[in-house]
């Protein structure tokens, strides 16, 4: 084939709540110290990554989003380690990086459009056009107990709420004229009423890059209409993600009668679909497989296994032995959707445990997601490049393990091979995150 290969986009997801059990790299400082994040960001920039994505601290939740449900957090069992607030941390990282995109997770459910749009626009100015916003729509009802407002009233409402939130934010970002004159804005919608002037001029990217993560039809629809980047979760190996990419890519962006106004207001441009992926490198295939299995074991600590079980069962199971059998009792009323009943998750887990003679912890390890790419650097580079060439994704959001040293290995060993194949940039050509992603600057809507 002589065609120019499709360019690959790479991002790194900073290990967060869902990866609290990821072993910290002994070479790094504590998981909260600025030095930890600085090293991760510098490594990602050295590897010419598109952006660094930080998960938030406001909604400790699984459900739809970046955290696989079996490892997600519940409102009453918060991340034991804790982590920094993303926008503030990224503002600091802006000072120690020059090109890397800086993506913050923030949930419409617990924010106000004016304040959040202002913080993101400030980050875009301070970083010279490298800000991005991961719109988290997952809502743990308990998270609301920390906030003044109730947010969306239910699951069905949350995308409509988020859509209006993003639309209001874009209007605020557009409210100054390109030559720096503030203008009054009035937004009146079902969820928000905003009138007045924004305090920040149009930022270097016009609008910070908007990211959404999810696999449901709602999530893809939302991403297609309101976002620039869709992050899909690690799916079952057989299913792949090509369906998502193709269905939600060009097609979903085509204007249609049911598309939201937000989509029509914006200039047409490609939605970038990135797949969340973990990788494990080894000098040989066997060594890589062995390390992958070891990482899975370390990820699922005994207490992590019990928490995962509690999510499914919706009960306090802290009295159960992680090395013992699964509970005989059935899931409670607070169980995860689809957990109960004869064909529910709980029944499937029980069947699996019985068939293979697994303990609670072994069952959780067995059912947890496998790493996407396991092998030698060459094999991993080939698999990633093939995946992009097939159109399965535009790139990957990598979760390094251990953190942050795992990323050093990727940057040193895999990135050069991707560059050699001509699928990954040999250098940054632009200054903004939009330019890395090949996204046009949004047309100013005066």
């Amino acid at each position: 084939m002589t065609a120019v290969p499709r360019p690959m986009h790479l991002a790194v997801l900073c290990p967060g709540a869902d990866d609290a059990a990821v072993p910290a790299d002994p070479r790094s400082a504590g998981r909260i110290d600025f030095a930890f994040f600085e090293r991760l960001a510098r490594t990602a920039e050295r590897g010419l990554f598109d952006f660094l994505l930080l998960t938030g601290g406001e909604l400790l939740t699984g459900g739809e989003g970046l955290c696989p449900p079996e490892h997600g957090e519940r409102g009453d069992s918060p991340d034991p380690v804790g982590r920094p607030e993303p926008i503030t941390l990224l503002s600091a990282l802006a000072a120690v990086t020059e090109r890397l995109g800086l993506a913050a997770t923030a949930a419409p459910a617990v924010n106000e459009p004016y304040e959040l749009a202002r913080r993101l626009a400030s980050l875009d100015h301070l970083s010279g056009g490298r800000a991005a916003w991961h719109v988290a729509t997952a809502a743990d009802p308990r998270a609301g107990e920390n906030f003044r407002r109730d947010g969306p009233s239910g699951r069905a409402d949350r995308y409509a709420h988020a859509e209006e939130f993003v639309r209001a934010a874009r209007r605020l970002w557009d409210s100054w004229t390109p030559d720096g004159v503030p203008r009054r804005l009035a937004h009146s919608g079902r969820h928000f009423t905003i009138a007045g002037e924004f305090t920040v001029p149009r930022s270097p990217q016009g609008h910070p890059v908007v990211i959404h993560a999810g696999d449901s039809a709602d999530a893809r629809e939302f991403a297609a209409s309101a976002a620039d980047v869709l992050v899909t979760r690690h799916g079952p190996p057989a299913a792949g993600t090509s369906r998502i990419s193709r269905a939600s890519g060009p097609d979903a962006r085509a204007p249609g009668p049911d598309r939201s106004r937000a989509a029509q207001d914006r200039s047409p441009g490609g939605l970038r679909v990135l797949r969340k992926a973990a990788f494990v490198l080894g000098s040989g295939d066997a060594e890589a497989q062995e390390r992958a299995a070891e990482i899975r074991r370390q990820r699922i600590s005994p207490q992590c296994a019990i928490r995962a079980l509690e999510r499914i069962w919706g009960r306090d199971l802290s009295a159960y032995d992680p090395d013992g059998p699964l509970p005989a009792i059935d899931p409670g009323p607070a169980a995860a959707p689809g957990a109960g009943g004869p064909s529910g998750t709980a029944a499937r887990w029980r069947a699996l445990a019985e068939a293979k003679g697994l303990s609670i912890r072994q069952t959780v390890i067995e059912t947890s997601g496998r790493q996407s790419f396991i092998g030698t650097p060459r094999a991993v580079a080939d698999a990633m490049a093939d995946s992009v060439a097939r159109g399965a994704a535009d790139g990957f959001v990598l979760t390094p393990s251990p953190a942050p040293g795992g990323l050093d290995d990727f940057v040193a060993q895999v990135v050069p091979l991707l560059q050699e194949r001509g699928v990954f940039r040999p250098r940054y050509t632009g200054a903004t995150l939009r330019s890395h992603l090949g996204l046009p600057e949004p047309v100013w809507n005066g």
């Binding site: 991340d79 034991p80 503002s91 000072a95 100015h125 207490q303 928490r307």
Partner: protein
Amino acid sequence: MSPTRPLHLAVALDGPARYDAQHYARLTGLAERGALDFVTLGDSFARPGPDALAVLACVAPTTHRIGLVPTVTTTHTEPFHVSTAVATLDWVSQGRAGWSVGVSATDAEARLFGRRPAAPCQALWREAGEVADAVARLWDSREDATGARTPAPDRAGGRSGLHRIDFQGAAFRVRGPSTVPRPPQGRPVTVVDLTGAGDAGRRVAGRHADVVLVRARDPEEASALRTALRREAAARGRDPESLRVLLSLAVDLGGRESAPGPGLDAGRRRRGPASYYSGGPVRLAEQLARWHRGGAVDGFHLAPIAPHRDLERIVNGTVALLQHRGLFRTFHPGGTLREHLGLARPANRYTTAPTRGVSV
């Protein structure tokens, strides 16, 4: 000569709105060279300007010692977000964060959020006091990591070292715990500027502030204010020695050779001549030394009307002179803002067991 309390100096970076990080990094670096305690950056939804906390977070990695104190408003924002953002500023600056408690009193600001109408200033300050309380409790809601960086989770579910705060204010509630680990300073420094804050603001200062910014016509008035604030703090069960009272002074070093640019003269009109200094850097040093020698205040918060022009003169002129006379430090002996201010790291109110040794 009577023993003089250590002099504390801070400067405001406020000026015409700027959005580039380099501008703020340059000014803060200048202030750090002068070994000042901290810089402040005001913030409001009512006028153009970037998010002040984000600006100072961006400045943090380019500086190493100086305290960073953005204004954070409490009226239309979430106490939980205020807490996590200031805690994170403390983490990225390795213990140099503070926050100046702000309120949003105007109708215009209320309309930007569309949640509730503007309220009288006194009601807003009462709420600001509740926010300061909740924010500090959230900082305590995770126990300090001991030895190993992360608290050892108990087998049952990793819930050790976390505390719900169950705070119920008049207009908000916060359950906790925080999502950010306890900041390096334990609690970042809380600053209350009494200008326009009235009696409610003074009560908030007495109860929650580590640093209070006041304005006064003369040393006697400043001294009386300081005494009243210390009494207020004592009445709240606090050690009055844990309070630093700084006199705020708008400074115009432009002198006669260059009149203030358009808009820069607003400070004089707004603040009145009492807290407005106009003249040269040497006379300013003499005035500061005189006020401090009399024991009227613990230090000064200088607000140059044109920081890009005057901050250098303040540092190289006024501060250098105070240092030369042995009245001000020539370097930062400590690493955290609390250390600069001579304030102890507060114990965690939720920790009952002794903190030394292995976590349980």
